[in-house]
């Protein structure tokens, strides 16, 4: 394994068991159904997809909140997918989590100081060091004057400030990786850029790797190096931002890019080209390629029976699509 690889995910499957009836057959919601990728230290990737594609489940599995059914997660050489308590405890210090709902992510009955002290207390940091670290972190997220903010409760802060506290909490233990699940989707438009820039500054200052989970491709393209497009529990396209936007390979990626508007009055005059149908059920996914029922370029007989492997038509630009079956695998 490449020494600069921080996180290595191989063939990850996260399935939720669904108990339907006492004597009915249990089904599985295959939220993550075969995901493989590598993440280098200090790299930012965006995982883009719509709701129900499994991106949040991917994030939570990487965070160690769910146990994968199959597959491997290796972080700095340590297997996380089957970690014992000690390794998991070590891992928790290496990964920070920034959530979507800034208010919900903060315990409403604790003030900012207490919220930030908790992770430090749990990991046994002594009091003087704790206070120092809390101050450092508040300064980094620019919640100053600190004395003002430390005694405030979450409901006294604005959405942007709350999210800063969440970010502060995520970097407290000096992690190497931040997983941000829709970090700005519940914030106002004018605050989003602020928070995303904050994350970018923190990332470059501390050489953090960041995984952004989002559905807002427009925002995130400015803040990440690579983009993964997720659909039906699989990553259907991976590539550098510029490559992906210039030459989207997978038909779903193309549909997605076509559907995203930029603010332009001309939009009102034409209809957008949108693929028909709905995202696939993760409980009973369609056979073969997950996108085939909605794909305008479907090859009957192939796409609807066999799942495509990963092809690499361009260097470092990969996709799961039979259209590229002649490219290298």
């Amino acid at each position: 394994m490449d020494p600069s690889t921080l996180l290595s995910v191989r063939n990850l499957h996260t399935w939720y068991e669904l108990r339907q009836r006492a004597f009915g057959r249990a089904g599985y919601v295959r939220a993550v159904d075969g995901v493989t990728f590598d993440l280098a230290a200090g790299e930012t990737i965006a995982v883009v997809g719509e709701s129900g594609c499994g991106k949040s489940s991917l994030a939570k599995t990487i965070l160690g909140l769910y146990r994968p059914r199959q597959g491997e997660i290796v972080f700095q050489g340590q297997p996380i997918h089957a970690a014992n308590a000690a390794t998991l405890r070590w891992y928790r210090r290496q990964v920070g989590f920034v959530q979507q709902d800034p208010y919900g992510a903060l315990p409403p009955f604790m003030n900012v100081h207490r919220i930030l002290a908790e992770p430090l207390i749990i990991h046994g940091i002594r009091k003087t060091q704790r206070e120092e670290r809390i101050r450092e972190v508040l300064e980094e997220v620019k919640l100053v004057p600190m004395a003002d903010f430390m005694t405030k409760y979450p409901h006294m802060l604005s959405g942007g400030q709350q999210q800063r506290v969440v970010i502060a909490r995520a970097i407290l233990l000096q992690p190497k990786l931040i997983v941000a699940d829709e970090p700005v989707s519940m914030l106002d438009a004018s605050v989003r850029v602020e928070i995303l820039e904050l994350l970018r500054n923190l990332q470059s200052a501390h050489r953090l790797a960041v995984i952004y989970i989002t559905h807002d491709l427009s925002a995130v393209r400015h803040f990440s190096e690579r983009i993964f497009v997720m659909y039906g529990g699989k990553i259907v396209e991976k590539g550098r931002v510029a490559d992906l936007l210039r030459n989207p390979l997978h038909p779903y990626t193309r549909a997605l890019l076509r559907a995203i508007p930029d603010a332009d009055a001309a939009n009102a005059e034409t209809d957008r080209d949108v693929p028909p149908g709905e995202p696939p059920s993760l409980l009973h996914p369609p056979p073969g390629c997950r996108f085939h029922p909605r794909c305008p370029l479907v090859t009957p007989g192939l796409c609807d029976t066999q799942e495509p492997p990963e092809f690499e038509p361009e260097p470092l630009h990969l996709t799961l699509c039979w259209l590229y079956k002649d490219a290298k695998s």
């Binding site: 719509e50 709701s51 604005s158 959405g159 942007g160 106002d188 438009a189 004018s190 605050v191 989003r192 850029v193 602020e194 820039e197 559905h215 807002d216 491709l217 427009s218 925002a219 393209r221 400015h222 936007l245 549909a255 997605l256 890019l257 559907a259 995203i260 508007p261 930029d262 603010a263 332009d264 009055a265 939009n267 009102a268 209809d271 957008r272 949108v274 693929p275 709905e278 995202p279």
Partner: protein
């Protein structure tokens, strides 16, 4: 612009709360022609949802001030009493699709029954006639007819939103208010719904007021754009010129903070926070955060008409 479908003049809606009086809608004036779409843009807390409720008179119990003039097809509906308003205006002339409305479908009714309810109640139609209308509306919004007998929980988010849209259109009102209709939906579903709205605007006699914070999506439908800040409209303009070069400093900063997929313009953000609607500052409400403020801004600017027919609430254009 005055031969319009809707004319709103100095509409005010203030709420009484334990912390003081929230001046949610503070003197809003605009007009809308038939078959036109107006986008009301603003961030959370600017009062845009209250504006929708004010127009449709969906008021909570703690109303402190509610006045102004709302003219529908020339007739002032403010003096109408509650019962008249309910009969003659609400839903038959103006209807609304609320935020996260897809969660507001009655779980124990089949969707066709729910959508036909306004017909049975308002127009006293028979059930089979009503269901025929429902069928028409479903086709307009793109709900497959075999979904008519289904329950709400059997439909996806996008489908439910279309059902809600159908319910808003069932009495064929000339004006439909849409409060963040697609904010909880995916990109593809959002594009679908916007397509439906575009088609409705073209093919039927319906005007829309689209209230949203999503500037990019609003450009899909808008003929006119109004920007709302701290309870007031700070700019009203036609869509073409607005999206190219907004006039008000707030609109400019707002446009600059929206990331674009197709080009690399540098992103900016607006420092500070919008003012509390209880404790409004004297003078221009955006002045504390405005990079172009000057001495005159200590006075509250009126809506100023520019030579090319746009309206801005800013002393820079005096």
């Amino acid at each position: 612009m005055n031969n319009g479908l809707l004319q709103v003049e100095e509409l005010r809606l203030h709420y009484r709360t334990t912390q003081g009086v929230v001046q949610a809608v503070d003197g809003v004036t605009f007009s809308l022609a038939p078959r036109q779409a107006l986008a009301v843009l603003g961030e959370s807390g600017c009062g845009k949802s209250s504006l929708a409720r004010a127009i449709l008179r969906l008021l909570p119990r703690n109303v402190e001030v509610y006045d102004g003039c709302v003219r529908v097809n020339g007739l002032d509906v403010m003096p109408l009493d509650e019962e008249q308003f309910r009969r003659d205006v609400r839903w038959s002339k103006i209807s609304i699709v609320m935020q996260a409305a897809m969660n507001a479908l009655n779980p124990v009714l089949r969707v066709a029954d729910q959508v036909s309810e306004p017909l049975l109640v308002h127009q006293g139609q028979q059930r089979d006639v009503a269901l025929a209308c429902v069928r028409d509306v479903f086709q307009m919004v793109g709900v497959p007819l075999d979904f008519m007998g289904r329950y709400a929980f059997e439909l996806s988010g996008g489908m439910r939103q279309r059902v809600i849209l159908a319910m808003a259109l069932i009495l064929k009102p000339p004006l439909v208010l849409l409060d963040e209709p697609t904010s909880a939906l995916d990109v593809l579903t959002q594009a679908n719904i916007m397509n439906v709205l575009k088609r409705l605007k073209r093919d039927t006699n319906t005007s829309f007021i689209l209230i949203t914070h999503d500037i990019a999506t609003s450009s899909e439908l808008a003929d006119q754009v109004a920007v709302m800040y701290a309870g007031q409209l700070v700019e009203i303009s036609d869509a073409g010129r607005f999206f190219r070069e907004p006039l008000h400093p707030y609109s400019q900063k707002l446009m600059a903070s929206v990331p674009r997929l197709r080009d690399d313009t540098k992103l900016a953000y607006i420092p500070g926070r919008p003012p509390s609607l209880i404790d409004l500052p004297r003078g221009c409400r955006f002045a504390p955060r405005c990079p172009q403020r000057f001495a005159r801004c200590d006075q509250d600017p009126p809506m100023i008409r520019t030579e090319d027919g746009r309206q801005v609430r800013c002393w820079l254009y005096e």
